[in-house]
């Protein structure tokens, strides 16, 4: 009995204590944080007022480059970058939207460029950078993806990347294969690889997002054969299911499945597994975004030079192009007290010195979108293989940079197609429905009568 009384007394005391702590907890934290930082910085304190900027980034973006720049910015301008990590994917999108709507966004944010960004209603939340000098360094192609009504809200936070097929060059050499220029050649290569006892194509549905690449990377072909598709699609005038050029992507996925070109255990194979299979030559192809290259280098540094790249081929060998993804951007919160510090950070980030620091940590996954910044000599071999596409202009943007429509269930629908649970036609139809739901819910023009 006595000990129990003591316990309740203890709990009561804990309640009081915790209420007290809860009441002043947030202030306390800030104070200690401020003390810590002022202890560290010595030289710059007098020239620049001490500033902290908060930065929200998803947990799938590698921040080594940004961290390196941030360390230098701290030295020079006494600006500390406090990084806050959020989940990626649609879950992360939702967090970003909720925090914007409730006024809880950080000073600076990392986010996709293109239609995903434009869907955030940037004019309400983000600081217009178009007056800043450093914006002039950025390529027009990128500027378009982060601009609304003449106002520019973001700067590129990395290099662009491509969506297409990574392949193992050693496997190609061993089997005497050549980089395919048409879909039929690719399928023929796959047959040969399968015969040799290797996995022709990796399907890594353990991470469902990877299921989308065969469709998304096919967009160069759609764009070149049906140039108005993106526009018509957005305006509710064209559908995947009844546009043969667009349906091809679904059919290609289905063909790979029917031909038995995928690995076994697709649903338990993760992105990580896939990178290993490709790097170690257990598999020959992996349709993926080229941001996989730094990840391969990190885990398999000796094999990175064995990895090559080609765009997803179409029917015409003369028109073999690649689909390009614009880099993610850095954006400044319009309502932040530290807008000046954020633009200061951005300016340095885009400066020559800033980019050098950045590139020392992060290699390019594709072309840079800064004027006059070329691919360095030591770029990944796979990235160098992009040069002919770029030089000859056989490059097109991914659909998500042309249209705000992207149904949330695409990954799952494509897993079903990729596993042979549904046909290409059915998959395309249910994706069209998924898109319709999105367009109506987000109230896009032409979808709600």
């Amino acid at each position: 009995m006595k000990s129990q009384k003591k316990l309740w007394l203890f709990l009561g005391a804990a309640l009081l204590l915790s209420l007290f702590l809860a009441g002043c907890g947030s202030n306390n934290n800030e104070d200690t944080a401020a003390n810590e930082t002022s202890g560290e910085s010595t030289n710059t304190e007098e020239e620049f007022p001490e500033t902290e900027i908060s930065f929200l980034v998803d947990n799938q973006t590698v921040t080594d480059g940004i961290d390196a720049v941030a360390a230098e910015v701290k030295e020079r301008y006494n600006i500390t970058l406090n990084t806050e990590i959020r989940p990626g994917g649609t879950e992360g999108d939702n967090i970003v939207k909720t925090r914007l709507a409730t006024g809880e966004m950080t000073d600076m944010m990392w986010y996709n460029s293109g239609s995903l960004f434009k869907a955030l209603n940037p004019e309400e939340y983000f600081y217009d950078l178009s007056g800043e000098e450093f914006v002039e360094k950025i390529d027009e192609t990128f500027i378009e993806t982060v601009s609304v009504d003449g106002a520019t809200y973001g700067i590129p936070g990395e290099s662009a990347s491509a969506g297409g097929w990574l392949y193992n060059k050693k496997v190609y050499e061993e089997l005497g294969l050549e980089v395919p220029n048409t879909w039929d050649e690719l399928m023929a290569n796959n047959d040969a690889i399968k015969e040799a006892g290797k996995v022709p194509v990796i399907a890594s549905y353990g991470d469902t997002w990877t299921s989308q690449l065969v469709i998304l990377a096919d967009y160069y072909n759609v764009h070149s054969q049906a140039p108005t598709f993106a526009e018509d699609f957005t305006a509710n005038e064209a559908k995947f299911a009844d546009t043969p050029e667009a349906l091809r992507g679904f059919e290609k996925l289905s063909e790979l499945q029917e031909a038995g070109h995928f690995n076994s255990e697709e649903t338990s194979t993760t992105y990580e597994d896939a990178l290993r299979m490709l790097a170690e030559g257990e598999a020959a192809h992996y349709p993926i975004l080229t941001f996989a290259l730094p990840a391969i280098e990190e885990t398999y540094p000796d094999q990175i030079d064995d990895i090559g790249f080609f765009g997803q081929p179409g029917e015409n060998a003369e028109d073999h192009g690649m689909t390009l993804w614009m880099p993610g951007g850095l954006y400044a919160n319009k309502d932040s007290e530290n807008v000046e510090a954020v633009t200061q950070f951005m300016e340095f980030f885009l400066s020559e010195e800033g980019q050098e620091l950045y590139m020392a940590e992060m290699k390019a996954q594709g072309p840079y979108v800064l004027k006059g910044v070329e691919l360095p000599e030591d770029a990944y071999p796979a990235v160098k293989e992009m040069v002919p596409y770029l030089e000859e202009g056989r490059v097109g943007p991914a659909l998500e940079f042309l249209s705000p429509l992207k149904g949330p269930n695409l990954e799952q629908i494509l897993v079903e197609v990729g596993l042979g649970m549904t046909s290409a036609q059915e998959g395309a139809e249910s994706y069209d429905q998924d898109v319709e739901r999105q367009a109506q819910q987000l109230d896009l023009e032409g979808w709600n009568e």
Binding site: N94, T267, S268, Q433
Partner: protein, 287 residues
């Protein structure tokens, strides 16, 4: 006789009512309203029943309904069966009672996400421990989470594993409140252990059984976090539950649509649980 109102002042109800009313009832009522709108968090447009129509047009919803029923009933039945078995065993005279009870209850303490992560590793088709053990006995284990027809049941099994501890504790509590002389009486009448179980334990554990059924059913109809951590509703849509469909719509920014889904889920839970509750309590045997 004193006045009830005076002894049991409603003032005691006020703190709970304020917190619950402000942070649960009011937002819920608001969400009922928003289920009839197209809503982007800043502005809304009244669109009547369109969200409900759209929700029911979703082809994956049919799978979701079916899966939700399967998941809720499978987990409830298994929790009742195993909970009852464990409880009977743990209330008998055994030496390792405390150890066993703690071991069975232990998974309740671990976060759902951690359990989900651990089991998706253990259930890997070729490298997972479960199939390695099966392979040792010459059984080729299935692809627990990757096989579309199996995934839902695999998650349900893990849910039972994680939740059976609570069911067991409720049953133990029920059995301990059965007066000992009942058992003595049946021994005197020459009944064996099984008679005692059939004629005393089972009927008199009725209230506990009801509590387990209702809690497991409500939980099973509403939860999706374990499914989310283990399969994400996949492969494809094969292990999607209504709650995970709603969550996906919410993530996609379909706030009106997902609140409509919430209203439907609530009605569904009420429609299933309420009659079962009535039926169970009517038959309840009082001690």
């Amino acid at each position: 006789m004193l006045k009830v109102n005076k002894i049991y002042s409603l003032k005691l109800l006020i703190p709970a009512a304020i917190i619950y009313g402000l942070l649960f009832v009011f937002p819920t009522v608001m969400s009922f309203f928003f289920s009839f709108t197209r809503w982007n968090l800043r502005e809304w447009t009244w669109i009547g029943f369109d969200n409900f129509k759209m929700f029911f047009d979703d082809p994956s919803l049919l799978i979701g309904f079916k899966n939700t029923f399967i998941f809720a009933f499978v987990t409830t039945i298994l929790k009742v069966i195993f909970g009852l078995l464990f409880a009977v065993f743990l209330t008998s005279k055994i030496k390792t009672k405390d150890f066993l009870r703690s071991a069975i209850f232990f998974p309740v303490l671990v976060s759902t996400i951690a359990v989900g992560i651990a089991f998706s590793v253990l259930m890997h088709p070729s490298e997972g421990l479960i199939n390695e053990v099966l392979a040792f006995f010459g059984i080729s284990g299935p692809n627990w989470l990757g096989n579309p027809t199996l995934a839902l049941y695999s998650v349900a099994l893990v849910d039972v594993w994680k939740g059976v501890g609570i069911a067991t504790v409720i049953f133990i509590a029920g059995m301990m409140s059965i007066p000992k002389d009942y058992y003595e009486a049946i021994q005197i009448d020459g009944g064996n252990k099984f008679d005692a179980f059939k004629n005393i334990t089972l009927p008199l554990s009725r209230p506990a059984t009801n509590a387990v059924i209702i809690l497991a059913l409500i939980g099973g109809l509403r939860t999706f976090d374990l499914v989310w951590a283990m399969t994400g509703g996949g492969p494809g849509f094969s292990s999607d539950l209504i709650a995970s469909i709603i969550y996906k719509q919410y993530q996609a920014g379909f706030y009106g649509l997902s609140t409509a889904g919430n209203v439907i889920l609530f009605l569904l839970v009420a429609l299933i649980v309420f009659p079962i509750f009535k039926m169970l309590t009517r038959k309840e045997v009082d001690i």
